[in-house]
Symmetry: C2
């Protein structure tokens, strides 16, 4: 009854090959001269096999069993250790870590695809391993040579897992309120640099303890004695669970301990730990008081990964809903397709009922459109890191920077909605654990919260990255999108739908720019304005990106010379998108307009405190 | 950290007293001649005390413990038996059951309020007791005198609980596929009428077994030997767990057994049972083959109750989010209210941040607007049952019939969304069980599924009740709503906002009627059309009803002669509704328009079966 996950390799191939033309980017990078899309596909096929065999089967059972805490140590659910070992053996942690940091140096784009598969198959499983690339990039960019030499190889191989220790009970979104302290300890000698002693409490630490690896490397934000208040007084420290240097003849247990794991809505197999640091030995990463900037390297990598969790849940929801709707029969069909072979007088597969078709098509619009955009961001990251031309690198960096918060918030909100909408397809069965979809609703919900809540992403997009540069980056993005709109309209002897999609996309660009200009103008006097419309603005840009994805998809699918059903369904889904779902853009824009027109009341403290 | 539920008595009083003028209805009913709103409020205060003391405290613990099945019997979580006993002792089951059926005969309106409180405090707790009124109404309307004499008193008092046994694995939405059999057994004599033997399996039976009451009375749909296929071959039977008549000297265990309870997303304290009927003794309720019509009495009562679960979860979500947002401080405020006493340089209560204000105001728009509409339906039911004028009764019946599917689907979808949006206010803490809000997300989700999925409600509204009578009932409803729009516009020397609300509401009525006419016309040739737009159409009517609720609320709040903060916040919330949320109506209308313009593709079976 629980359908097993199958990696959407056909669609991934479409995106990489036809939508992104990834080959053309790789050709420009010396390190990837040997890489082509055929080889990339082989890698993804291998990944799909690993995920399908080792990771997906643990999803439902891991949720039921959960991770365990015995008062001292955390242990993972059955099978997690073994499959993680297979992950290491397959070299997967190192896939896109740079060669200098001990990795394979393959494109980020492929890691984006890998992470989508892992999250779709078993979101909880990915939680601890998912931090590896970001941690290695952070250490690689900011760590001392000796620290890197000691830690990077074992992080890249996956032999040691990592954590990000940011949050404290009083400091979630507001990291300026962090209190964990770091004090230099001149008495301890270490070949890896000055030693500090870290003390404080951290909460919500993913993989703070577990039995997947012998050692765990914590990256911890803390304050030095002379630190200024706020975020400019935070420094970043590497704090290993076991110290196997600094003069120790054998590994010494460091003063960092798990005090408990949270009882959560979902991701029950992934331990979310409360960590106590007691005079723990730590080593500074980067400059004093510049810890947040260093940590941002890790957080940015994490944000795209979280965005792909949204796509992953939408994909998994689609697969489950499609399988169920194709199989379950209830009620006669109101209409049937021309090639329907069933008896119209008998109960039909519910996939034929219009309400279910709407839901299934909505799922496809979201999952396939978002996959294209998510992979596109991965490609921009690759260009930003590796393109020989520095202008291209800078441009790609601007695109990735602007697109990442949109993807994080928009995809994760859609991922949760997709899971809930897919659950509805199952009727009452959707509410039962056995069918798997209720777990998807629970697991997917967290992605809207962590790595910066979706509200924080919206402020990042509108206040910092759009108003902050007077709309320059947005303008550049819209110009790029407009090129696709033009291409759709230029295409000759093609169906009217394509011209219509192109016109619609062009109109969306104009409309998005007009409202942005309005916000730029009105925001000068009304400084609250961008904050009160940020969420709707982000969603509006999200729908514009989906329109871009589907226009480009439609253009490719209309020009391809094959009768493969894959392209026929791309065309049908694109038409559905432009017929129905396109209304979402205007709805979001109307809500931004509402914010321009009307102020926003405050509720009285009397009312808030009544409860 | 988990804030405890407080019944919104002030708002309930507002709705009953000022919004509904309930007194004027009660004055027309002889049985309620002594009832006035002061007495009604006393009853609700008593209910609030009971709910707060006995039911709310069991919510989180009941979720963690769940109900138990030992292979034979179901037992409830700690405290459930005792609080149910207190519920009986307080006479709450009988509140709105008619006097002839052994109840107190108080208005349905008060039961609607009671059920909102119970569901908000502890949705799982309400599940089994919630069926009592519907079952007694069904038995009262269709049972034989002897059956009623034996069973009704114990059902009305709550001494015996009831179930609705409809669903079978192959028959959920499609009850025509039911297979459970009923065979006459002439050999057994019974003073309560002919005896039948019932055999078959039923699933998803709420309270199919438990230890709340000694006996459980199952109302079971089954087929007689000569029954035609489909829903017109279903008969309704009363099947008690223990038979204490039919010649038995002492109660005899009947052949109905629980085979297991479901592992569900939420409502873990409420046992959802798989039931096996093996030659169980049963007594026919109503005519042979007319079981579905009899059962509909029960299902209709249940639908409004489920609608109020949506309101309840929104209220509970609002209370939790408001309490947290008023207390939690993070980041400086962008803007502060004029009377703000905090230091603007310090982190502010997150309730001041614009994104959180939007969320909190959205919650209020939904919960208070829906409460008015839900109570209004309760009042229509009272008028339908008791008004001395038969034309008034018939009109009220038409209103209740049209409004119920809207309330069921729209309120429950909003209730789930409200819980999820409130969760977001908590940031990462929202994902943790301890804070209570993640349970609300899980518990609220089921209301979109049971008592007819929300998709079925939408078809009921549009196809059956609107297109089915060529829009007559809808026209009558819109005329009623227009009266309020006129009243808002007529109000003199009042703020511009009220006139604006009135104009907006009038425009919505026109717009809703135009698109309905379009569906009536186009639907003749395109029979799929209403089915593909039904969900959006229902949501559109839902937003129109909320606009009605807030226009009427605004008019009352603008004309009241008091400076109570309660009315000031009503005005602020109403303005927020008409400034921001009103856009939802047009969005839904646009989606219906899209359905009129564009056909809906079929996905190929190849695609569906790929998973």
């Amino acid at each position: 009854m629980t359908s097993s996950y199958r990696a959407p390799l056909r669609d991934m191939r479409f995106v990489i090959d036809e939508w992104l033309n990834a080959d053309t980017v790789w050709r420009n990078v010396p390190a990837w001269a040997d890489l082509d899309s055929a080889m990339a596909l082989q890698i993804l096929e291998e990944a799909a096999r690993f995920v399908g065999e080792q990771v997906a089967p643990l999803n439902g059972a891991g949720d039921l069993e959960g991770s365990h805490f015995d008062g001292t140590r955390v242990t993972m659910p059955a099978g997690f250790r073994e499959s993680y070992r297979a992950y290491i053996d397959g070299g997967w942690p190192a896939l896109a870590i740079s060669a200098e940091a001990g990795g394979q140096g393959l494109p980020q784009l492929l890691e984006v695809a890998l992470h989508e598969m892992l999250a779709a198959a078993n979101h909880a499983w990915l939680m601890s391993p998912g931090l590896t690339h970001g941690a290695s990039a952070c250490l690689h960019a900011h760590g001392s040579e000796s620290l890197k030499a000691h830690y990077l190889p074992k992080i890249a191989s996956g032999e040691w897992l990592t954590t990000m220790c940011l949050t404290e009970p009083q400091a979630g979104t507001d990291l300026g309120l962090l209190r964990t302290k770091a004090v230099p300890d001149a008495e301890v000698r270490s070949e890896l640099g000055d030693v500090f002693r870290i003390s404080g409490s951290k909460i919500f630490i993913t993989g703070g303890d577990h039995d997947l690896t012998d050692n765990i490397v914590h990256l911890v934000l803390a304050r030095l004695p002379d630190a200024p208040a706020g975020t400019r007084g935070l420094s970043l420290f590497l704090v290993p669970k076991w110290v196997d240097h600094a003069g120790a003849s054998e590994p010494m247990r460091n003063g960092v301990h798990c005090e408990g794991i949270e009882k959560k809505m979902g991701l029950k197999a992934s331990p979310t730990c409360t960590m106590r640091f007691e005079h723990a030995f730590g080593w500074l990463i980067g400059e004093p008081h510049r810890g947040l900037a260093a940590m941002f390297v890790m957080m940015n990598a994490a944000r795209l990964q979280v965005a792909m969790q949204g796509v992953a849940h939408a994909e998994s929801a689609w697969q489950r809903a499609a399988a169920y709707a194709g199989e379950r029969t209830q009620m006669r069909a109101v209409t049937t397709p021309a090639d329907y072979v069933g008896d119209p007088a008998q109960p039909a597969p519910i996939a034929l009922h219009p309400a279910m078709r709407r839901t299934l098509l909505d799922l496809r619009c979201v999952v396939e459109g978002e996959r294209a955009i998510g992979f596109w961001i991965g490609q921009w990251l690759d260009i930003a890191a590796h393109h020989p031309d520095k202008h291209e690198r800078a441009k790609a960096d601007r695109f990735a920077s602007l697109l990442t918060p949109v993807a994080k918030a928009f995809f994760t909100a859609n991922g949760f909605a997709a899971a809930s909408n897919a659950l509805q397809v199952f009727g009452g069965y959707g509410y039962i654990h056995e069918y798997g979809i209720e777990q998807a609703v629970r697991d997917s919900r967290v992605s809207m919260l962590y790595e910066g809540t979706n509200q924080i992403q919206a402020i990042d997009l509108l206040v910092r990255k759009t108003i902050g540069d007077r709309g320059e980056k947005l303008c550049e993005l819209l110009a790029h999108v407009r090129e696709e709109a033009d291409a759709c309209q230029r295409a000759q002897a093609l169906p009217e739908e394509l011209a219509h999609a192109g016109q619609t996309l062009a109109a969306l660009c104009t409309s998005a720019w007009q409202i942005t200009e309005k916000l730029l103008e009105q925001g000068v006097a009304d400084k609250e304005l961008p904050y009160r419309v940020a969420d709707d603005y982000l969603a509006m840009i999200g729908w514009l990106l989906l329109a871009y994805a589907w226009a480009r998809t439609l253009r490719i699918a209309e020009t391809v010379d094959t009768d493969e059903n894959f392209y026929a369904e791309k065309r049908a889904t694109a038409r559905y998108f432009f017929d129905y779902r396109i209304a979402e853009f205007e709805h979001c824009r109307q809500l931004v307009e509402a914010g321009c027109r009307a102020s926003l009341p405050f509720l009285s403290m009397e009312t808030l405190n009544a409860h």
